[in-house]
């Protein structure tokens, strides 16, 4: 079966390409890209006035399976991904049980194959049982198909273990992903430490909890010369530390979430538990620094940290509610609204951080559009506004601080391996 995508504006950051073209997909692959391809004999997508980009990649998703299938499953999470324009997502291993064994990796691949809408690439734990004590069987996990290692949700506090983990992955050529948080400093905090936490009487998590951890990780990354990726940066000082490290040649890459470049800790004044995330929403000066870090490539990737929780869990007192919000279905809209429409990034730069950049970090052959490549494509309307509502979410969970927001960038078609997995109606 062949599919012809007609007259779309193709933006492919891998080759810095931006022009209106026709794209012919044959089977799973992109067969031809040309200014005009004859339409006869092909199924047609009219992409006139739409933007066509490589299928988006989210390298930080929580799918909750196995263990919390009430919150999300591979099935529901990948449907949400498709709706948000993501064709490849990497699932974090803080499941129950944690993904620290090849059999669990195989389970995820099997489940994604059977019920998933998009590609799922598992990330395995750094430490056995995510306990921060002994290394997980990284070599066997790589054979089973994981693309990275992370104890996300917890920092590997034992510096010796982290050093050995970084050394060990050199032989595997896969990145470690670190969640930088010194719990000695963040303690039982529930939000950013600052003026807002002071007036609300809520326990704060100082920015230094992230920065202290990040500084150690940078030192170990430099020492071992191993690939290290730092998850969800949230502070101005973190951006500055990484900027300097990159200048001095440290092999570090980083990501930021849409909520951290969109919201500040002032939102917590509502006591809406959908403002409770970890790392916490920070100050406006941090938000600006994150945008600058995106612009000057200190920050390589935009990742969602999609973290589904039930209404029952979130509809609680602020202290009692869990951290995290869903993000797959609002990410592209927030990127366009907060980064592209404000002029912080060009559309090309923004799309790079959702496609080729994570692909390069994960060493996967994705995130680009060329003849012979797998036909993972996202087609969206840059201008078209849509309203964020609970009812429209495909995710099982509805915990979003953006409910009621109007966002641009409506995803119209999501195509994985030549197959339309989401179509806007």
């Amino acid at each position: 079966m062949s599919l012809l995508i007609k007259k779309g504006r193709l933006i492919d950051p891998a080759t810095n390409y931006d022009a209106v073209v026709d794209i012919l997909v044959d089977g799973e692959m992109i067969k031809k890209i040309a200014p005009k391809i004859n339409r006869s004999g092909h199924e047609l997508i009219d992409a006139a006035n739409k933007v066509v980009v490589p299928g988006l990649i989210d390298m930080h998703t929580h799918l909750r399976q196995p263990g919390r299938e009430d919150e999300e499953t591979i099935q529901s999470g990948t449907r949400a991904a498709a709706k948000g324009g993501f064709t490849t997502i990497c699932c974090m291993p803080n499941t129950d049980p944690p993904i620290d064994d090849p059999s669990l990796v195989e389970f995820i691949y099997r489940e994604a194959e059977r019920r998933g809408s998009v590609e799922v690439l598992p990330i395995a734990t750094i430490s056995k049982d995510r306990a921060g004590k002994d290394l997980s069987p990284m070599g066997r996990l790589k054979k089973a198909g994981v693309v990275a290692f992370s104890d996300d949700g917890d920092w590997v506090a034992d510096s010796h273990l982290m050093r050995r983990a970084l050394e060990y992955v050199k032989m595997l050529n896969l990145p470690l992903i670190s969640h930088c948080e010194d719990r000695g400093l963040s303690q039982d905090g529930v939000m950013n430490e600052g003026y807002t936490s002071t007036i609300l009487g809520l326990q704060g998590m100082p920015k230094e909890a992230e920065e202290v951890a990040l500084f150690r990780d940078l030192a170990l990354c430099k020492m071992t010369e191993s690939p290290l990726h730092l998850a969800h940066l949230s502070t101005a000082e973190s951006v500055e530390l990484i900027r300097k490290a990159k200048v001095s040649g440290v092999r570090v890459t980083t990501e930021v979430t849409p909520h951290h470049f969109t919201l500040t800790d002032r939102e917590v004044k509502s006591f809406d538990t959908n403002t409770k995330v970890n790392p916490p929403l920070r100050g406006s000066e941090d938000l600006e620094a994150l945008k600058e870090g995106l612009k000057d490539a200190t920050i390589d990737v935009i990742a969602t940290d999609h973290a589904p929780h039930l209404v029952e869990e979130k509809e609680k007192e602020y202290n009692a509610a869990p951290f995290g919000i869903v993000g797959l279905e609002t990410a592209l809209g927030l990127v366009i609204k907060e980064l592209v429409q404000t002029g912080a990034l060009t559309l090309m730069e923004a799309i790079a951080k959702l496609t080729i950049n994570p692909a390069r970090i994960l060493r996967i052959n994705r995130g680009l559009v060329k003849e012979g490549a797998k036909a993972n494509l996202t087609i969206f309307d840059l201008e078209k506004k849509w309203l964020v509502t609970e009812e429209e979410f495909f995710s099982k969970s509805k915990n979003s601080p953006f409910l009621g927001w109007e966002l641009p960038g409506k995803v119209e078609w999501t195509i994985v391996g030549g197959k339309v997995v989401y179509q806007d109606d």
């Binding site: 430490e193 600052g194 003026y195 936490s197 002071t198 007036i199 609300l200 009487g201 809520l202 704060g204 006591f271 029952e312 509809e315 609680k316 007192e317 602020y318 202290n319 009692a320």
Partner: protein
């Protein structure tokens, strides 16, 4: 000007006019407390539930008395006899109580924002009787009432709040309330018990009690939780007493007519010695009496006119 709110959640969002209106209303209820029969029919037929998720003697008794003196029906609910242990959420507990047809919830809860959650989700009035370290609005109101009674007003007074500012809802509510009425507020504690950027609330920060007390009209001592010495916040209670306890010598640095307040319960010999707590410059028992009148006023303003 009246009082048109459904709930009383905190002092931060009250206007000066609203505060003065509550205090004015409290004056007439204060007079009721001096009568031979200290009871009025104002809230007859109304039901108020006191929902206390933290231990409290003074505030709970004060609310209960205020409710009874307004002739409301009163139901008390506290963690020890609640279904919270069975895993029921706060919101479920509130909705269940509501299904029994009540008119007002008075909530004391360890989590900041708990009364705000209820106020948003349920249609009856919610009164915040203390939410974690966030706010305790009726305490600030009774403190304002007491200061006005003794000093004739609040405008222009210098007031020092001394003690664990970081963990105190009384401090936060009073910082907002006193400044709205024109007082100059100082806070004084070891740096570990001062919350970050508190000066942005408009107060001056002191680490030395001697400096903080200079020329002040009112000294508000806060209760120190003895647990604080085990969490790296204080080396020891003994050191705290040596540096921050109010003594007669320190008191002499304040204005000659300076008065002492304390939200209670007092750790005698810790925040201040018995001699000062019981002395003629202490307003501690006046605060307790006025608390009933102020809470009657709040209940009346929220429930009385519908």
């Amino acid at each position: 000007m009246g009082f048109k709110r459904k709930d009383l959640l905190g002092m931060e969002d009250l206007s000066k006019e609203e505060i003065l209106f509550i205090l004015k209303t409290a004056e007439s209820f204060r007079a009721v407390l001096e009568r031979p029969i200290r009871k009025v029919p104002t809230l007859r037929g109304k039901t108020v539930v006191n929902l206390f998720f933290e231990p409290s003697t003074r505030t709970r008794m004060s609310f209960e008395l205020a409710e009874k003196r307004l002739n409301a029906d009163v139901l008390n609910f506290s963690t020890s006899d609640s279904s919270v242990i069975k895993g029921e959420t706060l919101l479920d507990t509130a909705r269940n109580i509501l299904a029994m047809k009540v008119d007002c919830l008075v909530l004391r809860h360890p989590s900041p924002g708990a009364p705000h959650l209820l106020a948003k989700k349920i249609p009856v009035s919610v009164i915040n009787a203390g939410d974690g370290a966030h706010e305790h609005p009726t305490q600030a109101l009774l403190d304002l009432y007491t200061i006005r009674e003794k000093k004739g007003g609040v405008e222009g007074l210098k007031i020092a709040i001394i003690g664990d500012i970081a963990h105190s809802r009384v401090a936060r509510s009073n910082i907002w309330a006193l400044q709205k009425l024109g007082a100059e507020v100082r806070v004084c504690a070891p740096p570990t018990l001062i919350p970050p950027l508190v000066e942005k609330m408009g107060v001056r920060v002191f680490y030395s009690q001697e400096d903080a007390l200079k020329e002040v009209d009112i000294i508000m001592m806060l209760r120190i939780q003895k647990e604080r010495q085990n969490t790296g916040l204080l080396p020891s209670l003994a050191e705290y007493i040596e540096l921050f306890s109010l003594t007669e010598e320190r008191l002499s640095l304040a204005k000659p007519d300076a008065l002492i307040m304390h939200p209670g319960p007092v750790n005698r010999g810790v925040e201040l010695p018995a001699k000062l707590a019981d002395g003629k410059r202490s307003l501690i028992l006046n605060q307790v009496t006025n608390g009933v009148a102020v809470r009657m006023a709040v209940l009346y303003l929220l429930l009385g006119k519908s």
